[in-house]
């Protein structure tokens, strides 16, 4: 029901929206909750477990009940669990209620409510024990269907999310009186201030409560803050306090509007602050009495907020129930607007009864009535039993300071008896100062004063001289609370509305021995819903304290963890969605390869051509076979720029390589290349590659594509940890050179067609500088194919041009491009290893390279000699050939013929396989127990996944040209 002339809404801007398909209208400045209340809608959702009808409890982000799904107009997307009290109204907003089967009014699952005696806390631990297989197959799916919140469409998120960083001297969290005063004090004193506010506008309680402070003061303060360059971040919730003054915050950027292209829904901020003022206010708490969860029962502060912010009366016949003085103000303000106040029920025996409406002391509510909306309440007060007809009950059980952020680094708050609440202690988070209601100081004057004091403390830590403003006149009434947590009696009394936890559940938990507050939380699920117990934690532990005969401070709180408020995965992962997950690395030849129809495959972050289909080739293997035979018979060209290239210089460069490689490099002549093997510190193989000596004190190391980063990191580690004083410097030059393999019997002919000077004697494992088409280049005679092979490197900008020229000339010779598939076949035929073999669990001994671990010391040498890493029990690298030509697969396991196929008889596994067009055979590389002694024997290859069972011959891993005559040609 809208009240004329009240509220901060813009009545000149009406907005249309729908809820469960029904059309309504509200105004600019409404939340979905206020607009629903204005339209007389009280039933907005169903509870988590019992599917109880629920309405709106609060007017803020702590809302446990009014969770809805917001539908994206024009797309199939929907956002579940949106708090109607936070969602701002926009024209065309479409929302629907959630967690129901059938309509909201006639939810079929509300049968759960009648079954509640069987569904108390922990029911599924006890009730669904037998028969055992039924749990996963039947019980759990049914329980999951019946419980829960909103649903997802299982579509990809297409909306934009943003991330951003901010830095300041002072972060002020919350813009109520304490926050405003803190920001003003700090800004006047010259500090760089960020002021965050989770709500749509700054002001905090001053927006929801009338007459706390002169309205002109707020306006003037905001204007002054703007003029002092204070960054005021509205719609921004600080969700976590992390190390070194870093705070996470989520800004609702576009959620208050219909979706727009490129407009981020949310922005995830990382705010780094030298000092922080936590002025996060306090949350009013309910009281647990029987059936205290009916639509129409809400917090007194919420009623006040709807009145002042939205000009909405929470009901037509309003009753209030309070343990403190605050609710009286609310009652008076409602009365002043002409709302019928049925009664104020005050639980205290000694409060004043002098009001303009009936006040009953010593009051207790023992039951309520009304299925879909509150109709009546009953109980006792100083005059005896009562029953009142009412459609709205505003409850105030006192206030809990919003102190979660102060506890995020695991410090615990302290209990203050006079206000019956936990308050933060100083120093819980370094540099964080609590002020105002967040610190347990509830009056407006107290908040202003503490805000100023907190800023002064922060300024002193910042070595700034405070220029403190005067405090404006403000309300300074004490709260005068007599705590009342629960009203014992018949019927279920709700503590945690969001997770349907009652006082009975907490008592049951204590009765079953779960008396620790952390155990109670897990047994009952209290505090585990999206509201994270904001409305129920203190109440629940008070009930637990009562049930266990301890005091509240003895009972203690559960652990507060970030995030303080729900954060969408989209916001959390902003910048990492889709392709943002990792950078894409493209070769200079990328477009040329794609032009030729090559399917690109990911190799680490790189995109490399898989094969180059010719017209008529319909499958990869046909193309691959052709490319392999082409390399073996004429010449092939492949882009190998992805291999890591590390330039190493200095007088100790050779010595450094001797330390990181198992073999010796200090003896390598200038102009020569050597194969090297690198171990991790634990003695297992890390990487292999070739290193060229370009000059007396100048080497160029090549790593595998996969381990380029790891090797660079390793070199840095070894240098910094073991030989920081050596005369050696290294840097990645991977990106500086485009490098192409030219392999095959016509390789030299192809190179000579392009080199500025014909290649003279250039034996296997040579390197040197050449010029190609007028560009200085590096040439290496190395081979990963077993053929006569070269790799030619030019500065990256020339990469694409050289690639295209090499390709054209190669094709003239009957050769051409080959892709990753052919490259793989070529190296398997030759028995060369890749990271399929050196996968992190193999030693130099396993791959038959133990002789490369020389006499000198090297990283990993001692660890590689540990017992169990050398011997016949090790799985050693072998070749495999099926006896009958049939497909084999990597991942298959090996068994001795005649043994049962079971784990205990496992003899090894296959790492790489290919069809070799050169040899007309399937080939495999495998690790086999004592494999080197088993050449010539038969082994059974079994792959349960692919249903393979093939007898193979164990061979040397080098299938082709074992003497290496071709590559030395």
């Amino acid at each position: 029901m809208r009240l004329a002339g009240k509220g901060l809404i813009d009545r000149s801007k009406p907005l249309n929206f729908t809820f469960d398909g029904r059309k309504f209208s509200g105004f600019q400045g409404d939340t979905l909750a206020s607009a629903l209340l204005a339209n007389g809608v009280k039933l907005v959702g169903r509870s988590f477990k019992y599917h109880r009808p629920r309405g709106i409890l609060t007017a803020g982000p702590e809302e446990p009940n009014a969770l809805v799904e917001v539908l994206d107009p024009g797309s199939a997307l929907q956002t579940p669990n949106t708090r109607a009290t936070v969602q701002e109204l926009y024209d065309g907003l479409a929302a629907k209620s959630q967690n129901r089967l059938g309509s909201l009014r006639f939810d079929l699952l509300s049968v759960n409510d009648y079954l509640s005696p069987f569904l108390s806390a922990g029911f599924y631990y006890k009730t669904f024990m037998w028969p055992r297989p039924f749990w996963e197959a039947i019980y759990e799916p049914i329980i999951r269907r019946a419980a829960g919140l909103g649903t997802l469409k299982r579509l990809h998120e297409t909306a934009d999310y943003e991330k951003a960083f901010a830095f300041c001297d002072l972060l002020v969290i919350g813009s109520g009186p304490a926050g405003l005063m803190a920001a003003l004090t700090a800004a006047r004193s010259g500090a760089d201030v960020i002021l965050t506010e989770q709500d749509t506008a700054p002001g905090g309680r001053l927006l929801s409560q009338d007459g706390q402070v002169d309205g002109a003061w707020v306006k003037a303060t905001l204007a002054e803050l703007a003029s002092l360059n204070v960054r005021i971040m509205t719609r921004t919730t600080v969700i976590g306090a992390y190390d070194q003054g870093t705070y996470g915050a989520v800004e609702r950027v576009g959620l208050h509007l219909a979706p727009q292209r490129h407009l981020p829904r949310e922005c995830f901020w990382r705010i780094v602050a030298k000092q922080t003022v936590m002025a996060t206010g306090a949350l009013e708490r309910p009281v647990a009495f029987a059936n205290n969860d009916r639509p129409g029962i809400m917090l007194a502060s919420a009623g006040q907020s709807y009145l002042h912010r939205h000009g909405v009366s929470p009901g037509a016949k309003v009753t209030l129930f309070a343990t403190n003085d605050h609710a009286r103000t609310v009652a008076r303000q409602l009365k002043a607007e002409g709302v019928n106040i049925v009664a104020l029920l005050d639980s205290r025996p000694d409060a004043s009864t002098l009001e303009d409406f009936p006040v009953h002391l010593n009051a207790k509510i023992t039951d309520t009535a009304g299925r879909h909306a509150l109709k009546a309440i009953s109980g006792t007060h100083h005059g005896g039993d009562f029953q009142l007809d009412t459609d709205c009950l505003l409850v105030s059980g006192g206030w809990n300071p919003t102190l979660a952020l102060a506890c995020h680094q695991n410090a615990r708050p302290t209990w203050r008896e006079d206000i019956a609440a936990f308050v933060p202690r100083p120093g819980m988070v370094p540099g964080l100062h609590a002020a105002g209601a967040a610190n347990g100081t509830f009056s407006t004057h107290g908040a202003l004063s503490e805000g100023r004091a907190a800023a002064e403390a922060a300024l002193s830590a910042l070595s700034l001289t405070p220029k403190s403003p005067d405090l404006p006149q403000a309300e300074d009434a004490p709260i005068r609370i007599t705590p009342l947590w629960q009203i014992k009696g018949k019927g279920r009394a709700w503590l945690d509305f969001a997770n349907d936890v009652t006082t009975k559940d907490v008592k049951l938990s204590a009765q079953e021995g779960y008396t620790s507050v952390e155990h109670m939380k897990r047994y009952t699920t209290q505090g585990m819903a999206p509201d994270q117990g904001k409305n129920s934690n203190v109440g629940a532990l008070a009930v637990l304290a009562d049930a266990t005969g301890r005091s509240i401070p003895e009972t203690g709180t559960t652990t507060f963890r970030a995030p303080f408020a729900p954060v969408s995965i989209g916001a959390l992962g902003a910048g990492g969605q889709g392709r943002g997950f990792a950078p894409q690395r493209f070769l200079t030849s990328d477009q040329a390869s794609r032009d030729r129809g090559a399917p690109m495959i990911e190799a680490g972050l790189w995109y490399r051509p898989s094969y180059f289909p010719k017209p008529g080739e319909t499958d990869w293997r046909t193309s691959c076979n052709r490319e392999v035979l082409m390399v073996r018979s004429s010449v092939g060209v492949a882009d190998v720029s992805t291999l890591g290239k590390i330039d190493i210089q200095g007088k100790d460069a050779g010595r450094f390589l001797d330390l990181v490689y198992t073999n010796t490099f200090s003896t390598l002549p200038v102009g020569k290349v050597r194969y090297g093997l690198m171990l991790r510190e634990d003695g297992f193989v890390m990487d292999d590659g070739t290193t060229a000596r370009l000059g007396e004190h100048h080497f160029l190391m090549t790593t595998t594509t996969a381990a380029a980063g790891q090797v660079m990191r390793h070199l840095d580690f070894v240098h910094q940890a073991y030989c920081a004083d050596w005369d050696v410097r290294f840097i990645s030059v991977t990106e500086s050179w485009a490098q192409f393999a030219v392999a095959g019997p016509m390789a030299k002919m192809l190179l000579n067609a392009l080199l500025d000077e014909k290649l003279g004697d250039f034996p296997f494992m040579s390197c040197g500088e050449v010029a190609i088409e007028g560009v200085k280049a590096r040439l290496f005679r190395i081979s990963f194919s077993g053929e006569e092979g070269y790799e030619i490197a030019v500065p990256t900008p020339y990469g694409e041009a050289l690639f295209r020229d090499l390709t054209a000339k190669a094709e003239t010779l009957g050769g051409g491009l080959y892709g990753m598939e052919a490259l793989n076949v070529l190296r398997i035929e030759k028995g060369f290893i890749t990271h399929a073999e050196i996968h992190g669990r193999v030693t130099a001994y396993d791959i038959g390279m133990e002789k490369m671990v020389g006499k000198k010391d090297c990283i990993g040498k001692a660890q590689a000699a540990r017992p169990g890493l050398i011997g016949p029990e090790r799985e050693q690298l072998v070749g495999l050939r099926p006896l009958v030509q049939t497909e084999i697969a990597s991942g298959a396991h090996l068994f001795t013929p005649g043994d049962r196929v079971e784990r205990i008889n496992d003899q090894g596994y296959v790492t790489s396989v290919c069809w070799s067009p050169t040899l007309g055979s399937w080939l495999g590389l495998a690790f086999l127990k004592n494999g080197r002694a088993r050449h010539g024997q038969q082994i059974r290859l079994v792959d349960h996944m692919r249903k393979l069972d093939v007898l193979c011959e164990v061979t040397d891993p080098v299938f082709l040209d074992p003497k290496g005559e071709k590559l030395r040609a």
Partner: protein
């Protein structure tokens, strides 16, 4: 003269202007990495006319790591004093002109106000490792050449979002 065509990392990419910022590819001349050998920093500085302190830029020398800088240009003979490598083609350079602070706050975990002329930082750009500096022409970002497209796309996306944000402001 080379007969091979040279191409920049984002050859043909037109500048993009959003939210008051223009993003463009800049083709830098030669880049030489200079890493001083132990104890040789002063001698290197004498040869180069200075050597930048961490997070600083000195003339055409960009700090890129401990005792290491990128020289925008050809290095003189520093043999025995410093290890030098040609990094010219290895980096893509992106230029930001205009009101860059809001955009920078969405790209780098730094305070944009601290990126004054003469500052040079190694800092992540999304999941990439970047060199970030400001010169008399504006903000300059260097990323691995192979990642240039991703860097462009990410920055362009941040600019689009910023523009959409500004469209709803006020």
């Amino acid at each position: 003269m080379p007969e091979l065509f040279a191409k920049s990392a984002l050859h043909g990419q037109k500048p993009l202007t959003r939210a008051g910022v223009t993003l463009s590819e800049e083709v830098l001349g030669p880049i030489t990495s200079v890493a001083c050998f132990p104890g040789k920093r002063a001698l290197v500085a004498a040869q180069l006319g200075g050597f930048p302190a961490p997070n600083r830029r000195e003339g055409n020398l960009l700090w890129t790591g401990p005792e290491q800088a990128f020289l925008l240009g050809q290095a003189p003979d520093l043999s025995g004093l410093a290890a030098t490598t040609d990094q010219s083609g290895g980096w893509a350079a992106l230029r930001l002109n205009g009101e860059t602070n809001k955009l920078l706050a969405r790209l780098f975990p730094i305070d944009p106000r601290s990126l004054t002329e003469g500052t040079c930082l190694r800092t992540p750009l999304f999941h990439m490792s970047a060199v970030l500096t400001r010169d008399d022409k504006g903000v300059l970002i260097l990323v691995f050449r192979s990642m240039a497209r991703t860097a462009w796309d990410e920055i362009a996306h941040a600019m689009e979002m910023l523009q959409a944000r500004e469209a709803i402001a006020g």
